[in-house]
Amino acid sequence: MTAENRQAFREGIRDGVPIALGYFVVSFTLGILARYVGLTPFQGFLASFLNNASAGEYVGFALMALKAPYFEIAAMVFIANARYILMSAVMSQKFSPDTPFYHRIFVGFDVTDEIFGITIAREGWLNPFYNYGAMLVALPGWSVGTALGIIAGNILPAAAVSALSVALYGMFIAIIIPPARKDKVVSVAVVVSFVLSFVAGEFFSEISAGTRTIFLTLVIAGAAAVLYPVEKK
């Protein structure tokens, strides 16, 4: 590993730690559901290691419990995870033409809301070793958390769960606010997103949160792109 990659790897671990902590709490509760469905700790670990997706796994486990047809589970997991198509497309543009192809596969393996967030918050080309550092802590946080949730059930005190449940949102805030402060269009887009997300939640609560996110992203980012195109630097 070059010195630059090693440095990126270390920074990835550093930024991955709060993600791992937040993941641990969320996946622990996911494990409680998986236990109810009848998964062993290893099966929960495996599902979480390969998917690393909260909504997608919730949907998957819930449909397993109903013994849903295979097509149905595939379709629902696709819908729950469809926002990653956009995130993966954004990340494709952060890759330098010089970065070997296989890095795209390994980086793609762990596209999550949080890892996407910290990846796009960095300036310049994406360094895959930064993602690997973050994955090194985030993936075990998620998959081991699921397994422990299956083993232990509900043992974390409610006050701790409540406090830790905002860790991931805190990270999102830390990612969107500094660019919003610099770029007026981004700040307006953020405020509009907050407002419309609230309105959509109030009036279209029967539509899943994942689908609402995709729809609002297409509309708001689409409108911003048409009204305020970004000139190439």
Binding site: G60, F109, V166
Partner: protein, 103 residues
């Protein structure tokens, strides 16, 4: 449910999830030149993360007030340049302390 059935389900879930995550990254290998599409991808992260943050943060906690306080504290901290980790910790601490009084 047998263990075979569970493994088939896990295999299907994982195949779908990984395809969704990996295919765009591997298929879009050249720079997108279209200005509107580029601009769209530029705005996507901020819009997506904002949509996912609010109002979800308010409903994530035991009390909606503590979630709202965490949101305000997080925005203020990030505005004044606090790091990713620090903003996350500040949000957690605000929830924990405010719920000592609220709950």
């Amino acid at each position: 449910m047998t263990h075979e059935e569970i493994y088939v389900y896990i295999a299907i879930m994982s195949a779908v999830t990984l395809a969704v995550k990996i295919l765009p990254l591997t298929l879009i290998r050249t720079e997108i030149k279209n200005v509107t599409l580029r601009s769209f991808l530029y705005y996507v992260p901020y819009v997506t993360l904002a949509v996912m943050t609010f109002p979800a943060i308010v409903y994530a906690t035991q009390s909606e007030i503590s979630g709202a306080l965490a949101l305000v504290a997080g925005i203020a901290a990030a505005w004044f340049g606090a790091s990713l980790f620090r903003v996350a910790v500040i949000c957690c601490v605000v929830v924990f302390l405010s719920e000592l009084i609220l709950i």
